[in-house]
């Protein structure tokens, strides 16, 4: 009975995390297409949420990596195992709330992985961590992917300008606005293939601990796939309305060809990585593409401060969220090995989140995509 209650809490927490992931990332996925006026905002947001949903079904390799390739499921067993997963999720949510509050461009994906590693080490020790998996599947791809996207978008825009440079601007702008319909769709699809699957992997790990799924699973159960896809799609749709209201304050200055190149580069890098099971920070990749397309045209057009913040976030997120995950696991254990700890921590984090959102709403300084994935 206690294990069923903890499982319900873990599922609810994971889906809430997935919802906020979509909510924050809407800006990254649709902002470029909206700012170049390629797609009307309402259509862009609806389009993005539908394709995020569809993307979650395309490939399940990232879910397998998160579920089996970072911590050994054999050590995540019973109520204690589910509490580890819960503590990892809360550690990630706490870090996301903190970075959202301070306006740091953190990565939800890295926070999730850091939180899980931290809570596992606190509970079981380092023997349960797959160090090679962490290095090979998370850290190295995390370093390569944004740089790759920067290079791909940079080369693409140079090639595009070389081809269409002597054509009248009118047809070129119209052509690339039309092309952005395709690249924005692909980017939304790619976002679903990578980010929704992280939640699926976490849920699969919790189900393994609960005993409802074998540790050698190849795919999460269908209800996990559908619920994770729905949560991220709903988050994307909800997050979009906030962006439409405040879009005028945060315009990304780029032409339609740059938007096309950056979105296309982001989509192909994320899709290729998803195919090989690499969970990436989609925000870092998309920002890499935007900066690459900007830098290839004019170095000064790039907001290099954003690049600096991303590097700081890279360095901080994994250890900070790991510390958070470990601390949350310690707090839950104060209340014993049963269901009391997760319930108390859930209530506390919910109160903290409501207070932070209420205070931010009162001050009227809500940031868009402050803590993206």
């Amino acid at each position: 009975m206690a294990s069923d209650v903890i499982l319900v809490i873990v599922v609810a927490t994971a889906l809430a995390f997935d919802f906020t992931n979509g909510f924050h990332d809407t800006a990254n996925v649709v902002a470029t297409a909206i700012s170049t006026r390629a797609v009307p905002p309402r259509i862009a947001v609806l389009f993005a949420s539908i394709l995020n949903f569809a993307g979650a079904f395309i490939s399940l390799k990232v879910a397998a990596t998160v579920g089996k390739g970072i911590v050994d499921p054999a050590h995540i067993v019973g109520t204690s195992g589910m509490t580890i997963v819960f503590a990892g999720l809360i550690g990630a949510i706490a870090w996301n709330l903190a970075t959202w509050w301070f306006g740091l461009p953190s990565s939800s994906s890295h926070a999730l992985i850091g939180g899980l590693v931290g809570s596992t080490v606190a509970a079981v020790g380092t023997k349960a961590i797959d160090g090679n998996g962490l290095l090979a599947k998370i850290i190295v791809p995390a370093l390569i992917a944004p740089v790759l996207c920067f290079v791909v978008a940079g080369i693409a825009i140079i090639v595009i300008y070389a081809i269409v440079g002597r054509v009248r601007p009118g047809p070129v702008t119209r052509g690339f606005k039309l092309g952005q319909l395709g690249t924005a769709g692909l980017l939304s699809l790619s976002h679903g293939t990578n980010d929704a699957q992280k939640t699926m992997g976490i849920l699969a790990l919790a189900l393994v601990a609960h005993g409802s799924l074998g540790a050698d699973f190849t795919e999460p159960p269908t209800w996990v796939i559908v619920s994770a896809a729905s949560a991220i799609a709903l988050g994307t749709y909800t997050g979009g309305w906030r962006i439409i209201k405040t879009m005028g304050t945060r315009i990304i200055k780029m032409d339609a060809a740059q938007g096309f190149a950056s979105q296309g580069a982001g989509a192909v890098v994320i899709l290729a990585a998803s195919h090989f099971g690499y969970p990436l920070s989609t925000t870092h990749v998309i920002n890499g593409g935007i900066m690459g397309a900007g830098a290839a045209k004019r170095l000064s057009a790039v907001r290099w401060g954003v690049a600096g913040n991303i590097i700081v976030a890279w360095i901080l997120t994994l250890p900070a969220s790991a510390a958070g995950g470990a601390a949350v696991y310690g707090i839950t254990r104060i209340f014993g090995k049963g269901v009391a700890g997760p319930i108390v921590v859930s209530v506390l984090i919910l109160i903290a989140a409501v207070l932070l959102f209420a205070r931010r709403a009162r001050t009227g300084t809500a940031a868009i995509g402050g803590a993206p994935a």
């Binding site: 693409a156 052509g175 190149a261 192909v268 195919h275």
Partner: protein, 83 residues
């Protein structure tokens, strides 16, 4: 833990991610740019009553657009296949 020599990091898979990203991320935009070039030049040629050039550029635009759509569909089909 040897990173470069040992298969701790699957450099082959990462290399494929880099290669596919470069091919698709540069190739498809380049082909689409040819389609945009074709569309722009085709309307200019039609306005100047150069029917041969207009037809040629219109074909370029059509083929470029079709090639891009084909590449995207092929990519998605590849992704959905379980290896």
């Amino acid at each position: 833990m040897r990173i470069l020599a040992d298969p701790v990091v699957d450099w082959s898979a990462l290399g494929k991610v880099v290669l596919y990203s470069l091919i698709a991320g540069v190739g498809v935009p380049a082909v689409y740019a040819c389609a945009v070039l074709g569309a722009g030049r085709s309307s200019d040629a039609a306005r100047a009553h150069r029917n041969g050039a207009a037809t040629f550029y219109a074909l370029l635009a059509l083929i470029g657009t079709a090639a891009c759509i084909g590449a995207i569909v092929y990519g998605i089909v590849l992704l959905t296949q379980k290896s």
